[in-house]
């Protein structure tokens, strides 16, 4: 794969320590922010050499990878280390990883650029950045994001790989100078530069200081796949042993001297503020309670123990302001979507003559608002110390969180110290973006307010109820489809209209060879706060597209898997994953003697292609998924076992949504509150999931989210085989 000039410019400069994006006026400003300087300042007291922003080498030959991404369980830090170890020619025993500080130097324009390069239309947040001139250095620099299935795919595979390769070349050059031999007489192995002619060798640790001050090479040579020692291997995750033994390093476990605890109750209506607390003295009289205050969209109690705080906050009687959202309900929202879809809509994509063909197959789908339900509820510990505001919090975007906290506290960015923690689940909740313009970092803002207004160090922890009801939700979407079949049963027409600004035409348009296609969307807002939820727009549109193609197949009387294949180029990844999953599952039609049937779905998302088959049956308590097979093309599979884990986990994540997940809206707020009514699957509901990775020539694709979109349609397609019913609304139970 050739390296485009633009990519080279980005990574060439990244090696040297500045960042040149080559887009707009951002580059010049970013050059003045010396990322390298941040790391060097941090280590001016020790004798390690910061060769570039990603790699530090110690005199005793340890290689430290600086990881700007935070950990929510996806294991990407190990993948990044594998990439660096291979390009650097280091032995695994030398490798370790360190978290980058929440600093503008570590903002990842690479993620943004990756999206822009990969997609035909960038995701909405990126379009917004571009369109609104949001693409200013200030905001771009506040993107230190972990999300979009991008850490290994972009930061690792693009930036760090080239940085490591360049570092190796610089170490060779340094050794050549020291030994007085030509560079091409030297090789590298296990963290050492070797001159086989004389048998002399020098470790990277001994050379690093020289390499750190050299100019980076203009061209870097990358390894070929057959030279990889670690990339492509199922390396054990470096962070797992610690996670297994009584782990207490989450945000919720923070410990600060003199710490108090705050609990929050929401106002109950999106956007509505609390006007007054009506029984403040009564609440304050409870044991351990010190403060009872109003916070954005809610009330807070500060106490000397989390349980005392929570008990007290539930005893608060408050009056809230009335708000336009007071009467918001699922019924009104659904009616609103249906009305919007009935209007004249902008066309996102059109091929052939879709208006000329009458539809003979129609379907309307509806999927609900979904909460994230990370098992660690939202929390932040905030305190003031030496004129600075300190925060301990698990987030997917530390820089953005730091900026938001600074704004709330009316401080300069430099006066906020953000201590990022591993997260007990992210799934997009902790990424700090809301498509609806609502405050995604609402828990952090409340925590900062509590600490500032009481002057105390406070750990604010949301209850599960508050977490469920103050989320930024996966949007509810209604979608209407029309199709027609030719005499050969193949689709001649595909028209779809869906609610909400389409984020990515590749998600909404069918990936199949259909001659007349029209895709429209109702560019309308969601009154309910919305945000990224694992796989984002693919979570809805994957269900719609893979349900409708299945409906066309069964209308034609064809096998659904063969039908899809007949509409794909057989050499495409889409066809190959379908063929592979057919083989893995022993794809069969009909119902077996245990009442089980199979359904299939295939979705391309985040640069990867996944086909899934689900084997399911109907039980008295609802559908049961027994087994699931996933054929995955993610291009380069840096760590196959980590990928398998992500895909298996995604299946269960998606199954929870397909079977149970919904957030009903009533009187301006969410009805559901805890795991009794916002259910997630447990061991007994989880299918056995088999994952296989295909070795195709595709570019490197993401893995964290790709297993989610195909699951719901594969399941509902299986259920249709059993009883002939089409299930167009989720959840199923």
């Amino acid at each position: 794969m050739g390296i485009t000039r633009r990519v080279f410019m980005v990574t060439g400069a990244a090696i040297g320590g500045g960042l040149l994006l080559g887009v707009g006026g951002v580059g010049a400003h970013l050059l003045t922010h010396n990322r390298l300087g941040v790391q060097r300042d941090g280590h001016s007291g020790d004798d390690s050499a910061q060769v570039n922003m990603w790699i530090r080498i110690t005199p005793d030959n340890k290689i430290v990878v600086i990881n700007p991404h935070t950990d929510m369980g996806q294991g990407s830090s190990t993948g990044l280390m594998q990439i660096v170890a291979d390009e650097l020619d280091a032995d695994w025993s030398q490798m370790s990883v360190e978290q980058a500080p929440a600093d503008s130097a570590y903002s990842n324009g690479k993620v943004f650029e990756g999206f822009v390069r990969e997609m035909m239309t960038p995701p909405e947040w990126a379009s917004t950045l571009l369109e609104n001139g949001f693409y200013r250095m200030g905001d771009l620099m506040k993107m230190q994001m972990t999300g979009g299935s991008s850490a290994v795919r972009f930061t690792g595979w693009v930036s760090m790989r080239k940085a490591a390769a360049a570092t190796r070349q610089m170490l060779i050059t340094a050794a050549a100078g020291q030994l007085g031999v030509p560079a091409d007489s030297l090789i590298t192995e296990d963290g050492t530069v070797v001159h086989s002619g004389s048998g002399k060798s020098i470790t990277y640790g001994e050379l690093a200081a020289k390499a750190a001050v050299m100019d980076s090479p203009k061209e870097v040579q990358l390894k070929a796949p057959d030279q990889y020692r670690y990339v492509g291997q199922p390396v054990a995750r470096v962070d797992i042993p610690e996670k297994v033994i009584a782990n207490a390093d989450y945000g919720i476990d923070a410990e600060v001297p003199g710490m108090h605890y705050a609990a929050i109750a929401t106002s109950g209506v999106f956007g509505a503020q609390v006007k007054s607390i009506d029984n403040i003295n009564e609440v304050k009289a409870a044991r351990g309670v010190s403060d009872v205050i109003i916070v954005p969209e809610g009330v807070a109690v500060v106490a000397d123990n989390p349980w005392r705080a929570e008990k007290a906050v539930r005893a608060i009687k408050f009056t809230r302001q009335s708000h336009a959202n007071d009467s918001l309900s699922t019924e009104s929202l659904v009616a609103g979507q249906r009305k919007a879809l009935a209007e004249e809509l902008p066309i996102a994509m059109s091929t052939g003559s879709p208006d000329d063909i009458p539809a003979t197959v129609t379907a309307e789908y509806l999927v609900p608002y979904l909460a994230h339900a990370s098992l660690e509820p939202m929390n932040a510990t905030v305190w003031q110390q030496d004129g600075k505001l300190h925060i301990v919090c698990g987030v997917q975007n530390p820089l953005n969180a730091k900026a938001r906290a600074a704004k709330e506290a009316d401080l300069d960015l430099d006066d906020v110290v953000f201590h990022a923690r591993q997260m007990g689940g992210g799934f997009g909740r902790r990424v700090a973006f809301s498509m609806s313009g609502d405050e995604p970092l609402n828990w952090l803002v409340q925590a900062v307010r509590v600490a500032m207004d009481t002057g105390k160090p406070v750990k604010t922890t949301w209850s599960r109820e508050t977490d469920t009801r103050a989320d930024v939700y996966r949007p509810m979407v209604m979608a209407q489809f029309e199709g027609a079949l030719g005499d050969d049963g193949k689709p001649t027409l595909w028209r779809s209209r869906s609610y909400g600004k389409e984020m990515n035409i590749k998600a909404v348009a069918p990936p199949y060879g259909i001659p007349n296609v029209a895709v429209s969307f109702a560019d309308q807002p969601h009154p309910v706060p919305t945000g990224f939820w694992r796989s984002v727009e693919h979570s809805q549109h994957g269900f719609f597209v893979e349900s409708f193609i299945d409906e066309l197949a069964t209308t034609a009387g064809d096998d659904p898997l063969q039908y899809r294949l007949s509409l794909l180029d057989e050499s495409s990844p889409e066809a190959k994953v379908l063929n592979k999953v057919a083989e893995m599952s022993g794809w069969r039609s009909g119902i077996d003697d245990q009442g089980r049937a199979m359904g299939v779905a295939m979705v391309h998302s985040f640069g990867s292609t996944v086909a899934q088959v689900v084997e399911a049956s109907m039980t008295p308590t609802g559908p049961k998924a027994h087994r699931a097979w996933c054929a995955v093309d993610c291009g380069v599979a840096i760590n196959p076992q980590a990928i398998e884990a992500q895909v298996q986990g995604s299946v269960n994540f998606a199954l929870s949504a397909a079977l149970y997940g919904k957030c009903d809206i009533k009187d301006g707020g969410v009805v559901q509150s805890n795991f009794h009514d916002y259910r997630i699957v447990g061991m007994a509901q989880a299918p056995r999931v088999q994952v296989e990775l295909l070795k195709l020539d595709s570019p490197v694709g993401g893995v964290g989210e790709i297993g989610v979109p195909p699951l719901a349609p594969a399941l509902t397609n299986a259920l249709t085989v059993i009883d002939g019913e089409r299930r167009r609304n989720l959840p199923l139970v």
Binding site: I240, K243, A246, A248, N305, W307, S374, L375, N674, F675
Partner: protein, 151 residues
């Protein structure tokens, strides 16, 4: 004062008798391996052993634990001497975010102590802890590996 035996150590605590054991453990005995997930006993992140039996400590008043032996995840194993369940957890690379796993391990240890060779159905019935990351495939394999090691 409420007297508690936690991991073999006696504590004398000035807490309300109705305070859930979870919050006593996390805040009064500084043992934060046991987690809060839901507060209504549905997720199991708060699982401890009381006289060897798995209990959801978020819904268990501390007064009911008086005179009993409480064991938390901290007593199950250490980095130097991990429990067979923990070794299996590492071998099978079970955790993703890891937040549920302390409770999950407590449930698994209790299961294996009571039923050394659990069937798949036994595992389904005993392992009702929730994992949002969905690591169930590997949990199941790890339990079976641990069962072999514990024989």
């Amino acid at each position: 004062m409420i007297k508690l035996n936690v991991n073999g150590i006696e504590h004398s605590l000035d807490v309300e008798p109705e305070m859930p054991l979870l919050w006593v453990l996390r805040e009064e005995t500084a043992l934060r391996g046991t987690k809060f997930g839901c507060g209504i006993g549905m997720c199991g992140a708060c699982t401890v052993h009381i006289d060897g039996v798995p209990v959801r400590s978020c819904s268990y008043p501390v007064s009911a634990a008086v005179g009993k032996q409480i064991n938390t995840i901290e007593s199950i194993g250490t980095a130097e001497a991990p429990h067979a369940v923990q070794q299996a957890w590492i071998k099978h690379q079970v955790p993703q975010c890891g937040y549920c796993q302390s409770g999950m391990q407590m449930a698994a240890v209790a299961l294996l102590n009571k039923n050394p060779q659990p069937s798949d159905e036994d595992i389904d019935n005993a392992m009702t802890n929730l994992c949002r990351c969905g690591t169930y495939d590997r949990i199941r394999e790890a339990i079976k590996t641990a069962a072999k090691e514990m024989v």
